[in-house]
């Protein structure tokens, strides 16, 4: 396959970026999208030009590191996969492909397609945990948890923290990410003790980071590589209202 790539190039956070055009040829349909970019980077390196920087690590769709908007869609045209799992057979010979970074105020560009997602870490630090120290915990089977509840909590827990939800949202809202963690811990009995403070603190941190408001368009869930459900956002709203009405914590 021969392809035309239009890629966002930006030297660093303080430099203005622009779309640049590259041609690649002899691309095998069996290559992953990132392997296709590897090919481009080898060509650029050979010529002594700076390779296109992009985040990637596990290349198995689980670490959440890869992050690019391909032809206007986070993680590209296919449902329920990350960029690293996208293969070139999803494209046609002669295609022009637009490749951009996540675009959100709370995710500033570091270089080319690499963005800073530290805001997600800080939201988890604000309360996305159960406050137990190592040791001294009860036997794992002491609290039975209905399978249905455990499975639902698991579905929420599968979020990989990639940020596609933010990139997909016209408001750059982080509600799907935050609600997935709030839901997981609100569903499980172990999380009940801190249920109210958790949701309040995480939402407060989300606002502070500069993410936009949620207007329930559902683009986040539609583009989520792990298909995190919109129900999580509904649950977060319930948890939040409940906490605000009755909590005296913050």
């Amino acid at each position: 396959m021969n392809l035309t790539l239009k890629i966002w190039r930006q030297q660093d956070a303080n430099t203005k970026g622009e779309m640049k055009t590259y041609e690649v040829s002899d691309i095998s349909p069996d290559m992953s999208f990132l392997e296709m970019l590897d090919v481009l980077n080898e060509i650029l390196s050979k010529k002594g030009e700076d390779p296109v920087h992009f985040d990637h690590d596990c290349r198995e769709g689980i670490c959440g590191m890869c992050s690019m908007v391909i032809n206007g869609r986070p993680h590209g045209p296919k449902q329920a996969i990350t960029t690293c799992q996208l293969h070139m057979r999803s494209f046609k010979d002669g295609d022009t492909i637009l490749i951009e970074p996540w675009r959100a105020t709370a995710f500033p560009v570091v270089k080319d397609l690499v963005v800073d997602r530290g805001a997600f870490d800080r939201i988890i630090q604000a309360g996305g945990y159960i406050s137990v120290n190592t040791g001294g915990t009860p036997d794992a089977n002491e609290i039975p948890i209905p399978k249905k509840v455990a499975d639902e909590a698991f579905d929420s827990a599968t979020c990989i923290g990639c940020g596609a939800c933010v990139a997909a949202c016209k408001n750059a809202s982080a509600m799907l990410f935050v609600s997935a963690k709030v839901s997981q811990l609100a569903l499980l009995p172990q999380g009940h003790v801190e249920r109210k403070t958790r949701v309040e603190k995480m939402v407060a941190q989300m606002d502070e980071e500069g993410f936009g408001a949620c207007t329930n368009t559902g683009a986040c869930s539609a583009e989520c590589p792990k298909e995190i459900s919109l129900e999580n956002i509904a649950r977060l709203n319930r948890e939040y209202v409940g906490a605000r009405l009755s909590s005296e914590n913050i």
Partner: protein, 640 residues
């Protein structure tokens, strides 16, 4: 040098209890006077950093990824072993200990493995308390599955994403301590040297991957939890960024490297599809429960999966079923891998590259129906289709072995301290618990055991004997280490040669895979050593690294990691050459039984090979730690 493993005396089951009582403690008010560096935030690193911070120590944690949650522990699929005996099927701490020692082909320490089995039960309690959503039964209690190398069901799991859920649990505990101000987190920061003062580990030098700034960090002790070195082979199931640099540079400062030749090659991975391949994807071992492995009796180069459907039964060779009638397709990982290699070497491999065998579900689907097979393996079938474009419900899968895990690593004593005082190694980074072969679902167990339940005790013993004084980072030892790092990076950037870093890495990978992979012999290993030396020599004259140090520069990051792989690769070959026995994942063709199976030489090789660095141009020195077996009887494995 005499290696003191510091294994406590007494009966096996009392060693850890007694040791915990005998080692020194740091009083709670004094813990805040000690600083500890933790490098790596996978299961071992994140759990250690969080647990030590909870105790009151000041922690500085480092990872090269953009967030501690991305460490490659996240990709582990199957599960985590623990001797809970919830299934009432006869499991016990001693049975888990025994299975792990035997699975490791009698090349690990009894005392360490028994401790691992003891604390395994606490890990599950800890993770559940953190909110890890393990699979449950309808009654609400935890579910278990069985795994290779065991006859009991002791594996706890969270669908096919157990590693992810456990890591996110440890990450949440770490995040809580970051918020508490007890952990200072440095992401996108890579350790490039260890700093020693008066023969003790007292800090590290790092590179900020965004700005390129070389910085020093001082502490009273340093913990490395930096994972394995499978990427020496270029292609492996490791993450793209997984590297050996932190461990290797500590090795060059005096930490012994143990059993580097013990690598695990996993039999069921998606085969290489061409030169562009950047990494390999594992397909769960559980597929071999229903899939039948075969190749055509007569070699047919380029045979595709859709053509294979038409090949009549009498022209197929179900080689595992023929050769190992009692275990069939369920032989252990190393045996399955080696036999796939043999049939491909005979020219009977399939697919475009000839380096693949079929894993066929046609009979299973005929027997059980598509729905049953889909319920068991649906997600794996989907993943396979996504990557290869073939539909495994209609045509056979193609699989081939791939490098997956490294049992070798930095030598540590019972306290997990390396041969450098004050330097510890945890998880896959150390060599301690898996011997020559790791059993499935044991990597997660070991990472978390080390981080949650071993290091919080053992590090106190060392710190209690260490003065509170901090060493300022303008100390000459820090300055010298910084200069060393800067000069390596300067050198790499100044060569401006013709070949890219990846080209060299691929060359190294080919040599390692061909001569130090699934099957090894003296002649090949000697050849590999020469080849690696040549590649390394050329590397330092002809590598092309783009850009500058003072920026985000992934080309430079990779160049510095590959420089270390080029040295580590040679040590792996040295170790494989000296160990002229077969054991676990290390198969020496010269040492096999009449039936062609791995043959140990217990009289000669029942020891840990701990290598001491003597300079890049000099041969490393071998130190031996004898292995004593008092509680298990050494037997030869048979799967016929």
């Amino acid at each position: 040098m005499i290696l003191d493993s510091k294994i406590p005396g007494g009966a096996l089951e009392e060693k850890w209890e007694k040791h915990k009582f005998n080692i020194k403690l740091v009083n709670p008010a004094n813990k805040r006077k000690y600083d500890i560096i933790v490098v790596g935030t996978g299961l071992a690193g994140a759990s250690a950093a969080a647990s030590l911070a909870e105790l009151g120590y000041n922690i500085k944690a480092f990872c090269f990824q953009d967030s501690p949650r991305r460490a490659h522990s996240i990709a582990a699929q199957g599960g985590i072993n623990a001797a809970k005996n919830y299934q009432n099927d006869g499991d016990s701490i001693f049975r888990l200990f025994y299975d792990t020692i035997k699975g490791g082909d009698y090349r690990s320490r009894e005392a360490n493995v028994h401790r691992l089995a003891e604390v395994s039960v606490n890990i599950i309690d800890q993770c559940v308390a953190q909110g890890v959503p393990f699979a449950r039964e309808y009654g609400g209690l935890l579910d278990n599955r069985s795994f290779g190398g065991a006859q009991v069901s002791r594996t706890f799991y969270a669908r096919g994403q157990t590693g992810q859920q456990l890591l996110l649990g440890a990450y949440s505990a770490l995040s809580r301590q970051i918020a508490n101000g007890k952990v200072e987190m440095h992401s996108r920061t890579e350790m490039l040297d260890l700093v020693m003062v008066d023969g003790k580990a007292r800090g590290i030098v790092t590179r900020n991957l965004i700005t390129g700034k070389i910085e020093s960090h001082s502490a009273h002790a340093v913990i490395l939890a930096t994972g394995g070195y499978g990427n020496v082979f270029y292609l492996s199931t490791n993450a793209m960024g997984s590297n050996a640099t932190a461990a290797w540079r500590a090795h060059k400062k005096g930490a012994f490297f143990a059993n580097p030749c013990y690598t695990q090659i996993h039999p069921t991975c998606i085969p290489v599809s061409g030169d562009h391949q950047s990494k390999l994807t594992l397909m769960s071992e559980s597929l071999r429960n229903d899939g039948r492995v075969w190749v055509p009796k007569e070699g047919r180069k380029g045979l595709t999966a859709s053509e294979a459907v038409a090949i009549p039964e009498e022209e197929r060779d179900y080689y595992l079923e023929t050769k190992y009638p009692s275990f069939g397709n369920l032989v252990p990982r190393d045996v399955a891998s080696r036999n796939a290699k043999y049939v491909c070497d005979e020219g009977r491999g399939v697919g475009a590259t000839g380096l693949a065998v079929f894993l066929d579900f046609a009979d299973a689907i005929k027997r059980d129906g598509k729905d049953v097979i889909s319920a068991k393996y649906g997600n794996l079938f989907d993943m396979y289709k996504q990557i290869t474009g073939d539909n495994p419900y209609e045509v056979p899968m193609m699989i081939y072995p791939a490098v997956h895990y490294t049992m070798g690593g930095l030598w540590v004593d019972y306290n997990l301290m390396t041969s450098i005082p004050g330097l510890y190694a945890l998880g896959e980074c150390n060599f301690s618990d898996h011997g020559a072969n790791r059993l499935g679902a044991s990597a997660l167990m070991q990472g978390l055991a080390d981080g949650y339940f071993v290091i919080p005790y053992t590090i106190g013993d060392y710190l209690a004997q260490t003065p509170y004084d901090k060493i300022p980072t303008d100390h000459e030892a820090f300055k010298a280490a910084e200069e060393n790092v800067k000069s390596i990076n300067r050198k790499l950037l100044s060569i401006k040669g013709e070949k890219t870093v990846d080209e060299f890495h691929k060359e190294l990978g080919h040599v390692m895979w061909d001569y130090c992979g699934m099957s090894r012999n003296a002649e090949g290993l000697k050849k590999a050593k020469e080849e690696i030396k040549k590649i390394r020599e050329e590397y330092w004259q002809n590598v092309k690294v783009i850009g500058a140090n003072e920026e985000l520069n992934m080309s430079l990051e990779k160049a510095s990691r590959v420089a270390d792989f080029l040295e580590l690769g040679e040590l792996m070959v040295d170790d494989a050459l000296h160990r002229s026995e077969s054991c676990g994942g290390h198969f020496r063709e010269e040492s096999q039984t009449e039936e062609g199976e791995a043959k140990r030489k217990d009289n000669e090789f029942s020891y840990v090979a701990a290598w001491e660095y003597k300079g890049t141009d000099n041969e490393s020195e071998l130190n031996k730690e004898a292995l004593q077996f008092e509680n298990v009887k050494l037997t030869q494995r048979s799967y016929k």
